[in-house]
């Protein structure tokens, strides 16, 4: 047996490698252990440059791409226009998230000064007073971003698993790092980790069964094996369903969603924004690749499963969001519901669904980043007059329009986009997503989706009413303050503008997305 070294196309890998290199460089910077303020600046600059450079290199690939796609590593990692558009999106989301990571309110960032110190302990207090900072969050986020970008190109069940872990592990750590409400944060991370491990195990079991039936981990070979090996279909099918569970877990689909509200609420808000926008986009990209390339011949067999999950996800997400009284939890349930809406498109197995999913996740991701950026700016004022934790109780948002008209207006834009009101990106997103499903005969699914969307309008509009039409309660007049620090304000501005632009002139992005509706096996 001779070994042939694989031929690797480096150019399509460049965006991913840039991000990983920056992450390693970030660790090296930590190794040198310079002063906190130097470290922070270096890390922020490095992370921003890396994500933006990755976005630029990926965009550059668009034109130099060989035909419609390139086999990067044999048939296991394939770069085509569809993966490129996701990569650009993820890199841009990451850059915006980094801006949120870097924001500091009253001199404090969103992360624990010394993650190893016990919550409420003497060490923690000292670390806080000394102004320590856990700047490792930047390399950690970059590792995750690199994984997500790679995720969109993977065409192999085993590599998919490794990349899945690469994405998840830094996230588990990031979730645990909140500066305020440490216990909640650590609890959230533990829950996320446990459930993530469970989901990974289920996925791995599924991948093993697929291998047992198809004798390969490559998507292309699995695809042909499904028709070639009679008598093994059941094995591959059961494996497919189990592997799907692992991917749907990342998307937060019901009934694999239980971690989402806890993790979103407990995590530092910038991390929540990052997870909700970028991780979900990556999960959808990988889900599409797996469904459309590896197992699309099982379309009729797994459609009932996907339909059930999509409907359950939309309904649970919407209904649960209505009864929430915490804005972060409400947004978490809303993000679950949005996962359901995008599944509506994905289940159609049509070419249109590819561009619809891209547009939907772009619209949703922008609004999510913006909304959490606003959440991070609404702060409680402690008894001694300094700024405290985020004011996430809905009651504390009453009269926000009077405290900060711009922030509240931007928030209203994001909420309207979530609700799918015309002239926002969310409307176009919902329209193209539902249309893709409708055209392929999934009208019952579309009916449920539209009903859920109508119900969802209620809780989004409730927040808008609270912000603009409810006066500031007397007892909260001085207890809540809206800060307007540079980074998040920038993110809010960019995302609000993009949300409106995408809603008013969606044609540019829709064209790009439909040009990118090509999957190369």
């Amino acid at each position: 047996m001779t070994f042939e070294s694989p031929i690797i196309e480096w150019a399509p890998l460049a965006p991913v490698l840039i991000v990983f290199a920056a992450a390693v460089l970030g660790i090296v910077i930590e190794t040198a252990d310079p002063k906190v303020w130097i470290r922070r600046r270096l890390q922020v600059a490095l992370a921003l440059v890396a994500t933006l450079a990755a976005a630029a290199t990926a965009a550059l690939q668009w034109s130099v791409l060989d035909g419609d796609g390139t086999r990067v590593v044999v048939d296991r990692i394939i770069c085509d226009r569809h993966s490129l558009i996701w990569m650009v999106m993820i890199a841009v989301f990451a850059a915006l998230a980094i801006l949120l990571f870097s924001s500091r309110v009253g001199g404090d960032d969103a992360f624990a000064p010394l993650a190893a110190a016990a919550p409420g302990s003497e060490e923690e207090r000292e670390a806080s007073e000394k102004g320590l900072a856990q700047t490792e969050v930047f390399p950690l986020a970059l590792f995750s971003v690199g994984g997500m970008m790679l995720f969109t190109m993977v065409s192999d069940t085993l590599i998919l698993f490794i990349v899945l872990e690469l994405i998840s592990l830094p996230l588990y750590v990031l979730v645990a790092l909140s500066r305020r409400r440490r216990l909640l944060s650590q609890e959230a991370a533990l829950k996320y980790f446990l459930m993530g491990a469970f989901a990974s195990a289920v996925y791995l079991f599924g991948a093993a069964l697929i291998y047992g039936g198809a004798f390969s981990t490559s998507f292309t070979i699995i695809d042909t094996a499904i028709v070639q090996y009679h008598g093994r279909e059941a094995l591959v099918l059961v494996g497919t369903v189990l592997a799907l569970v692992g991917l749907l877990f990342k998307l937060g689909a019901v009934p694999f969603h239980a971690w989402t509200p806890d993790a979103y609420q407990g995590a530092p808000t910038p991390v929540t924004a990052f997870m909700a926008a970028a991780t979900k986009a990556a999960a959808v990209a990988a889900l599409i690749r797996f469904l459309y390339l590896a197992v699309h011949r099982f379309e009729w067999e797994i459609a009932p499963v996907l339909w059930t999950i999509a409907i359950a996800t939309m309904l649970v997400g919407t209904v649960a969001a209505i009864v929430q009284t915490d804005i972060k939890r409400m947004l978490a349930y809303s993000s679950i519901a949005h996962g359901g809406f995008v599944l509506v498109a994905v289940t159609s197995f049509e070419r249109e669904a590819l561009s619809a999913a891209v547009f939907y996740m772009l619209a949703y991701g922008l609004a999510t980043l913006g909304a959490f950026a606003v959440v991070g700016q609404v702060r409680e004022v402690t008894k001694d007059g300094s700024l405290g934790a985020e004011a996430t109780r809905l009651g504390q948002w009453a009269g926000l329009g009077r405290r900060s008209p711009w922030m509240a207006t931007a928030m209203a834009v994001f909420l309207l986009s979530f609700a799918g009101i015309p002239l926002t990106a969310g409307f176009i997103g919902k329209y193209v997503a539902f249309k893709a499903a409708f055209d392929s005969g999934g009208w019952p699914l579309v009916v449920v989706a539209v009903l859920a969307a109508v119900v969802a309008v209620f809780f989004y509009v409730r927040v808008i009413v609270l912000m603009f039409l409810t006066p500031v309660p007397e007892d909260l007049k001085d207890a809540v303050e809206v800060t307007e620090s540079t980074g998040p304000s920038l993110v809010v501005g960019i995302t609000a503008l993009a949300t409106v632009l995408l809603g008013v002139v969606p044609s540019v992005v829709l064209d790009l997305a439909s040009n990118a509706a090509i999957l190369v096996p």
């Binding site: 289920v202 971690w259 797994i302 059930t308 009284t325 002239l423």
Partner: protein
């Protein structure tokens, strides 16, 4: 000029942007920029009309850019230039420019004059987009744009809380109407496969009556919201909180008539939906009486004019509801009303200006000699709205009354009767306003020195007054306006009304004379009490707008508020209480809470496991019978 029609929208829009972003350095000359922008629109309007008159093909569609391409819903943004839209372009351009000029003087000394003009320009741009759009979707953009501008301008003096809540009221009521338009859009797309005018009108004749009726009713709902028609009329009275030029331009001459425009524009849809059309006429008839009754009891000069606007738009709706026969007269009355109502409002503004912002007519009186220009210009407007020949109203309103009497069965008697009665009531309340303000003895509060306003204010008033006096006659000669609109409304041969035309005309004039006479006796000859006297139940009801707010409160507001309060209460007491209880009992409950949390992760995992089993079950059921196992 046809090729630069877009400039009519772009100029005020650009000017609004410059004024909003430009900052204080524009404070000195910014308002003249706004006037110039509005003038540009008017000039473009005149040019476009000249071009259109020289063409045989009177409808020009202009493609601007692809808006939403691809798939089944292809929408391009474009303009539709035809007699109907050009009529509006001219109305908005000319009246808008006059009111801009008037506002320069009226808003002098207001620290936010620049912002005011930016909003005014924004309104002009949005209104022109609304009427020039070639699709319902683009119309919707303009529709929301004028709603926004109206909201901003009603609440312009929002340091005064009632004014801010008046703006909110207008906003909320308008949203109810907007839901109608959005639903109509959805229905059109679903059943007619298009949302642009050409596509909708092409496929409307083939659609079922049910679909067209549904679309028609939704469009009527939208029109009711924007045009303050029954039952969504309540916001217009409160909207008078805005500066008077705003009331003149937006809440009398242009924006509130957008509903009438929508109905007339959608003529081909209503052609297949007679039930919806009948409802339009009924809504119009109810509203015209409602507005007139309220107008008779109000003492606030602007609110009388607002009630009168509601009533006059009721006339237009009634005409529009009569189908192609009435369409042209609806628009005719809309144009003449735009002139004389704007003139009346500007006159009211001039009176308020001279009387130190007093609005109570019981404290006016005897101003005729002191404010001659205002007296004459308002007098012309008054004669015009009354329908006294040969002033404008006579040519437009009387034709509506005539047309209302056309038909079979009960319909012409009820609709025509309402229109006729309305004319009498209009004569009474408008004469009441005129005599209470200008005649009788002065009942001014101390320290008031009524004086005429500056030329910047009087010149626009004079121009509008000339329009009020002569426009109707000019348009009526040889039915020129009706012929001009024919490419849009279609040519119809008139049937004869159930009563002979001379009879109707005589009846109308007698009722009008009666109204004037009553008002003259009561408010010019007899002394007017300075405070409103105790009155009968009917008058009290009219003073309270026939309890419209109470009805709204009971039907809409209380349920909504109760829901909100419950939520706030739940948040404040139940949730906070629970949080506090947990905080207080943390030590004691610590062990329990921890066990619960451990249990929760376990239950999450259990949920997931059950989920896996269920999806496997589903897939196995799905492949059951394939013999794969």
């Amino acid at each position: 000029m046809l090729s630069v029609t877009w400039l009519a929208i772009a100029a005020p829009l650009g000017s609004a942007a410059v004024l909003l972003l430009g900052g204080r350095r524009l404070d000195r000359w910014g308002h003249w920029l706004a006037v110039a922008a509005s003038t540009t629109s008017a000039v473009v309007g005149v040019g476009v009309m000249a071009d259109l008159l020289s063409r045989s093909d009177r409808a020009v569609q202009q493609h601007l850019f692809d808006w939403i391409p691809g798939g089944e819903l292809e929408v391009s943004a474009g303009l539709l230039v035809d007699p109907l839209s050009v009529s509006f372009l001219l109305l908005v351009g000319v009246v808008g420019t006059l009111i801009h000029v008037y506002s320069v003087a009226y808003m002098e000394g207001d620290p936010r004059r620049r912002t005011f003009f930016a909003y005014l320009n924004l309104f002009v741009a949005a209104m022109l987009l609304l009427v020039l759009a070639d699709s319902y979707l683009l119309l919707f953009v303009g529709w929301e744009g004028v709603g926004l501008a109206s909201y901003l301008l009603i609440g312009f003096w929002n340091q005064n809380p009632p004014f801010a809540s008046a703006a909110n009221k207008a906003f909320v009521v308008n949203r109810i109407g907007d839901v109608g338009l959005v639903l109509a859009l959805g229905l059109m797309f679903a059943h007619l496969g298009s949302v642009d005018f050409a596509g909708v009108f092409a496929s409307a004749p083939t659609a079922s009556e049910g679909v067209l009726t549904a679309i028609g009713l939704m469009l009527l709902l939208a029109a009711c919201g924007k045009s303050a028609q029954f039952p969504l009329q309540s916001w217009l009275g409160d909207a008078m909180a805005g500066p008077t030029p705003v009331s003149a331009l937006i809440h009398a001459a242009t924006m509130v008539t957008a509903g009438v425009y929508l109905i007339v524009r959608s003529g081909p849809v209503y052609a297949g939906a007679p039930t919806a059309l009948l409802l339009v006429a009924i809504v119009g008839a109810i509203t015209l009486l409602f507005g007139a009754v309220v107008g008779m009891a109000k003492d606030d000069i602007k609110r009388v004019l607002a009630a009168s606007t509601i009533s006059q738009i009721g006339y237009m709706m009634l005409a529009a509801g009569l189908g192609p026969v009435g369409f042209a007269f609806a628009i005719f009355h809309l144009i003449t009303h735009g002139f004389f109502k704007a003139g009346l409002f500007l006159g009211a503004g001039s009176v308020m200006h001279g009387m130190g912002d007093q609005v109570d007519m019981r404290r006016f009186g005897g101003l005729a000699t002191l404010m001659k220009v205002t007296w004459v210009t308002m007098g012309l407007g008054w004669l015009a709205i009354l329908g006294v020949p040969p002033f404008s109203g006579f040519w437009s309103k009387d034709r509506i009354i005539e047309v209302a009497f056309i038909g079979e069965g009960m319909k012409p008697w009820l609709l025509g009767g309402a229109a006729l009665l309305g004319a009498g009531l209009t004569a009474y309340y408008m004469s009441r306003l005129f005599f209470m303000t200008f005649h009788g003895k002065g009942r001014w509060t101390e320290g008031q020195h009524p004086h005429e306003a500056s030329a910047l204010m009087t010149v626009p008033m004079i121009i509008l007054a000339v329009g009020s006096a002569a426009l109707g006659l000019i348009f009526a000669i040889g039915d020129s306006f009706v012929t001009w609109l024919e490419p849009v409304t279609g040519h119809v041969t008139h049937e004869d009304p159930v009563l002979a035309v001379p009879v109707i005309m005589t009846l109308t004039l007698v009722l009008v004379a009666l109204g004037i006479g009553l008002a003259y006796r009561q408010y010019a000859l007899l002394p007017v009490p300075e405070t409103a006297p105790v009155a009968s139940l009917a008058v009290q009801a009219a003073r309270k707008d026939l309890y419209q707010d109470s009805v709204n409160s009971v039907l809409l507001e209380y349920p909504g508020q109760t829901l909100t309060r419950t939520l706030v209460f739940a948040d404040a007491k139940v949730v906070d209480g629970a949080v506090n209880a947990v905080a207080a009992g943390t030590v004691g409950l610590g062990g329990l809470v921890r066990r619960l949390q451990a249990g929760r992760v376990r239950s999450y995992a259990a949920m997931m496991l059950v989920g896996v089993v269920v999806v496997l079950g589903i897939v196995i059921l799905a492949i059951n019978g394939k013999g794969w196992f």
